[in-house]
Subunit: 234 residues, 2 copies
DNA sequence: TGCCTTGCGTAACAAGCTGTAAAACAAGAG
DNA sequence: CTCTTGTTTTACAGCTTGTTACGCAAGGCA
């Protein structure tokens, strides 16, 4: 009876925040994503029980995603959409979604509908791969431990892990600061953004990066960061 | 496999007619009833796959009926109600309904939602065990005893057992504080929450954990706890 | 009933994590 | 070379969590 995992895919930070909070209060584990790409990357490791998906996503055709989720992953899919037309609902459901909720929604109802989905099919998620290997390091996300090439382990914190996971999900790709903030669940634009730099800084020291010569986390001046190194989610 | 059977329970003849027609056009078998009593009598003979139930029935408490249907018959229940309040929907869903549609409804959407319910398979229940083995320890929940790898036993209290069981149910998974409070039956937010820390602390000492180097119960600052160690519910 | 034991929550203090502010540093532009 | 702007690091304050001590309540036993 491992507690169910609910994923949230929505580009509005406020919605993510509300859903995360309500669902965790209700006893679920959650993981939220701002973009379909991040979500899909995470699916290599995680098998959610219920997926809440906003259809009006900018970067992908949400319906195709729903289709894949429902058919290949075997997860229950609940669409949360701003489009209230009956035709939208019908096509969403026909494509394999298990439920369809229109914005604005009441958090209590979302929880109730998530519960209803879980009742109908205990297709409990298989334990996900939580270790990644890269450039001599091994990250154990289940233990929050970073393993050396000599086998020595150092712990990393939750905040550091979030950043690391983001990098490991999208290696060799430019990740803009805005993307990071979204993924790390913060409203952008505030003085908050310095916090992220500090997180990266601390992560770098744990990875024993030479500031002059970064081998793993490279800064692209004025643009963002790139994680170099081949990642293998064993 | 014969085509799925959908039952309709509604006191308005016009609604019954519309639903019957649309559903049969969509390829389902249907049976409709005007009163709860007739419907219940019919349940002795047939086992529907999906039940459409109007909550505002004159002769019975619809919610009790839903409860019975969902729990005893194992059928998927869709409530069709004139009451659109969120609270109505939530209680309906909590009682075991799988979906909730408000009048006026669009027949096409009803069909889509019936199909969605049929896609997810029948329900099952899992048996429980009362002893679990993990990392040299054996927990006997029937006796409230914790057994050493040498066979020595120490008792644990009810409160400690609740926490331990929660961990053993979800090993190697992040368990948030909110989830814990939910499981331990406390409303969140009060000063109550410090009690949980103490419970964990006491459990840790019984498990002879080294505070600096926790091998079993790891704290994730700002997020929750993780139970490491492979659990086997013998 | 009165005493003792045990369980359990609360309060208080210590230790560690995290965000913010500010200072140091690096990269381009002119 | 200097100025400006973006990034890294350090220092610090606030909050979360661990632990210990204490008090209250429930149950056993004479």
């Amino acid at each position: 009876m491992t507690s169910p995992l609910v994923t949230i895919l929505d580009d509005e930070p406020e919605i993510r925040r509300i859903l995360t909070e309500t669902l965790e209060d209700a006893g679920f584990r959650t993981q939220s994503f701002a973009r379909a790409r991040e979500f899909e990357a995470a699916l290599n490791r995680v098998t959610p029980d219920v997926c809440l998906v906003d259809l009006s996503l900018p970067d992908t055709d949400g319906l195709a995603l729903v289709h894949r989720l429902a058919l290949e992953q075997g997860a229950a899919v609940i669409i949360i959409s701003g489009r209230a037309q009956v035709q939208d609902r019908v096509t969403g459901l026909e494509l394999g979604a298990d439920d369809y909720i229109t914005k604005p929604f009441d958090p209590a109802e979302v929880v109730a509908r998530v519960r209803a989905r879980l009742r109908s099919g205990p297709r409990t998620a298989a334990p996900a791969s939580e270790t990644a290997r890269f450039s001599g390091w091994t990250a154990h996300f289940d233990r929050y431990m970073l393993e050396d090439d000599t086998g020595a382990e150092t712990p990393f914190s939750h905040a550091e892990g979030e950043v690391l996971r983001l990098f490991l999900d999208s290696p060799k790709r430019l990740i803009s600061r805005a993307q990071m903030q979204e993924a790390l669940g913060g409203a952008a634009g505030e003085s908050f953004d310095r916090a992220m730099d500090v997180r990266i800084s601390r992560l770098r020291t744990k990875l024993r990066e030479d500031p002059k010569n970064p081998r793993l986390i490279k800064t692209i001046y004025g643009a963002g960061y790139i994680f170099l190194g081949d990642v293998d989610w064993a």
